[in-house]
Amino acid sequence: MRLHRRSLLALALATGLTAPSLALAQDDTIKIGLLATFEGPFTVLGEDGERGAMVAVEEAGGTAGGKKIEIVKGSSDASPDSAVRAARKLVEQDGVKVLVGPLSGDEGIAVKDYAKTKPDVTFINGTSAAQDTTFRDPAENFFRFSTDGAQWMAGLGTYAFNDKGYKNVAVVAEDYSFPYTQVFGFMAEFCKAGGKVPSKSWVPIGNKDFSSVIAALPDDVDAIYVALGGADAVNFLSQYQQAGGSAPLVGGSITVDQTVLTSQGKTRDVLIGTPSAGPTADTNDAPAWKAFVEAYKKQPNAFPSPSLFAHGYYVNMKAAILGLNEVKGDVSDGGANLRAALSKLSFDTPTGKVSLDKNRNAIADIYLTEVVEGPDGNLLNKLVKVVPQVNQTLGIDEAEFKALGAVSRDNPSCP
């Protein structure tokens, strides 16, 4: 029986990590944790996030505050539990003092909760875009230099109502918090402008067959607002095309992201002309954006244009590096100086100036876009308009915004 104990210890020793590995971190390197979805259905998105983060690291010459950056990867499968587990490993075992991530909405809320128990570690968001990560019950050491799902929709509702002339719009969206947030952002403006949303279809995530949902959409709407991501978006779009759907579409941010636009199949006919909004636009002519795209394309297996996951991880990793530069890479004070520097940080990204509000959530430009066919036949998001410096309350007074309540299936509503 002793063998069991010995084999147990041997296993522990074989991995060489029984002793705290903090000692391994030398003085001239700084460890940054990179938490993204490297397994499960969101693997593609997580890998693109990593590309974005690596662009920022390479741009800084691989150093921050005079120290060599050592990236330690943590992998989740997009479930909040796995995100917390990966974050714990990065913080408690690998000893990172700065962590960039996670990728998806509920992961963000879970990691924020974990952040509260580790006050001397600095957490910087990846692309997680749930409102409540920073808006309700925020953590002092959780920073988000990217914007949330409702912010991403800034300008779209007004544009759809005024410029496109859509008065009645049906909503099809996945049944969880990120689409709730996006629908909230869209409807907040659209309903205010006088639009009506007579029907909302919340579809369980991972549903493949949308044809019945499509058939049940009311006939008398001017357009359909679609907030689906990845495989769900591709399925919906191709089945909408198959069913001969005629109403134009309005897209959520990840519905017309590069991950969907590059998918093989028959989605392009229904996609062209779809207005959307988000933190990036593929045809942005700003030199800073073009430089970013060039740097991004040097990464292995890159998409034709960076997805918003690459963009989000880039911006947040860049913020981490800038913050570390200001404190000369010194986090020996439990990161207090770093966090003070980050709070005041304001910098120019490929998509305009970014600064933080008092909840440490980004105030940044949002891009109103429309899907067009690019010169070599690939689909792109053409820049229509820049909505400058959108804050988390979408320009509404904070108390009033809070009174609108937390996002849910039924909030907001304007049938």
Partner: protein
């Protein structure tokens, strides 16, 4: 094998003397483990392994003694976890009745055991191999229901901000207390299972596993015995579920998804289903692999690695690591070897 040494006196000293050496050594190793391990190894490896070992143990009770392989053990643990979130305190703003932990924890265990008995009652109505399919389907249904239902389970995000209790001046989520808490619970469960397996009920259950028809003919109520085994296994899974939720600080449908359900089976099979120590061994191996795969083979191919290990175990040694051991040391085997289901 160790753990019995921490609660032995209440049972049979003779039994302790018979196979005690290994138990005592392992117990000592486990008790003094905090002296050599850092916090991460205490909770993320030690505590987590003990918790998943217990869930594996609840499967071992059913599979090893009852011949019923269940994939719904994580669901049962999850029920207890959700009960802790709903009746205890959470910060998701849904439910959170704030009952004290010493009511919530036993209540959650009892609820889990009742649900387990219900699952068992459905599953034992059919013949052997059906059980694995039905429990897989039930586990998936529970996952979907938890994900879609906001009034009870708070849907996709689940519950956040669940705190382990603080009493006797100790915060039980601190690394060392939490490790000992898990160790104590695991030892209790382990000892209980060992005791039960030698009790009249345990022997009857094993006889039913080997020949249900004969047992029925003799006059035993076969279904009742099996359902009671599900109830007992539910108590263990429920206890593990409560610990798991204190450990994670949160519970969501992701806690009880299909991957998690299969994970429990992998743990139990890799460790071995013939003896209650098996699942704990399996848990240590799997948790170590899970945690450090990203540093060794990269997270991307982790599942291939664990799948291959699993396949190898099933092919080479049907009784898991434990079986390998017993093959090496046949003279020690008599004590725990039993004919397979």
């Amino acid at each position: 094998m160790s753990l019995v040494a921490t609660t032995p006196a209440t049972e049979r000293p003779a039994f302790l003397g018979k196979i005690g050496a290994g138990h005592i050594l392992l117990a000592a190793a486990l008790i003094f483990y905090p002296a050599v391990a850092n916090d991460f190894f205490l909770t993320q490896i030690g505590g987590y392994s003990l918790i998943f070992g217990m869930i594996g143990l609840s499967l071992m009770v059913l599979a090893g003694y009852g011949g019923m392989v269940s994939l719904a053990q994580i669901t049962v643990a999850g029920i207890a976890g959700y009960a802790v979130a709903i009746f205890g305190l959470n910060n998701s703003g849904v439910h959170g009745f704030g009952w004290p932990w010493w009511i919530v924890a036993p209540f959650a265990m009892l609820l889990a055991a009742i649900v387990s008995a219900l699952i068992g009652w459905v599953a034992v109505r059919t013949e052997g191999i059906y059980t694995i399919m039905i429990t897989l389907a039930i586990a998936t249904a529970a996952f979907y229901f938890a994900q879609q239902n906001y009034t009870i389970f708070n849907g996709f995000p689940g519950f956040n901000g669940l705190r382990a209790p603080e009493f006797w001046g100790v915060n039980w989520r601190d690394p060392v207390p939490f490790y000992y808490l898990c160790l104590g619970c695991a030892a209790l469960a382990y000892a209980a299972v060992l005791y039960c397996s030698r009790s009249t009920f345990g022997l009857t259950l094993q006889a039913i596993r080997d020949n249900p028809r004969r047992m029925r003919a003799i006059g035993y109520h076969v279904t009742a015995h099996k359902v009671f085994a599900w109830f007992l296994s539910g108590l263990i899974a429920g206890l593990a579920g409560v610990l798991l939720i204190w450990f994670n600080g949160r519970v969501s449908p992701g806690t009880i998804n299909v991957a998690a359900a299969i994970n429990v089976l992998v743990i139990a099979v890799i460790g071995g289903l013939k003896h209650p120590i098996g699942p704990f061994l399996g848990a240590v191996v799997v948790v170590l692999m899970q945690t450090f795969a990203i540093d060794i083979v990269g997270a991307e191919r982790f599942n291939t690695l664990i799948g291959l290990v699993f396949l190898m175990i099933v092919f080479v040694s049907p009784d898991g690591i434990l079986g390998l051991w017993e093959r090496l040391k046949p003279h020690l085997a008599q004590d725990s070897l039993r004919p397979g289901p």
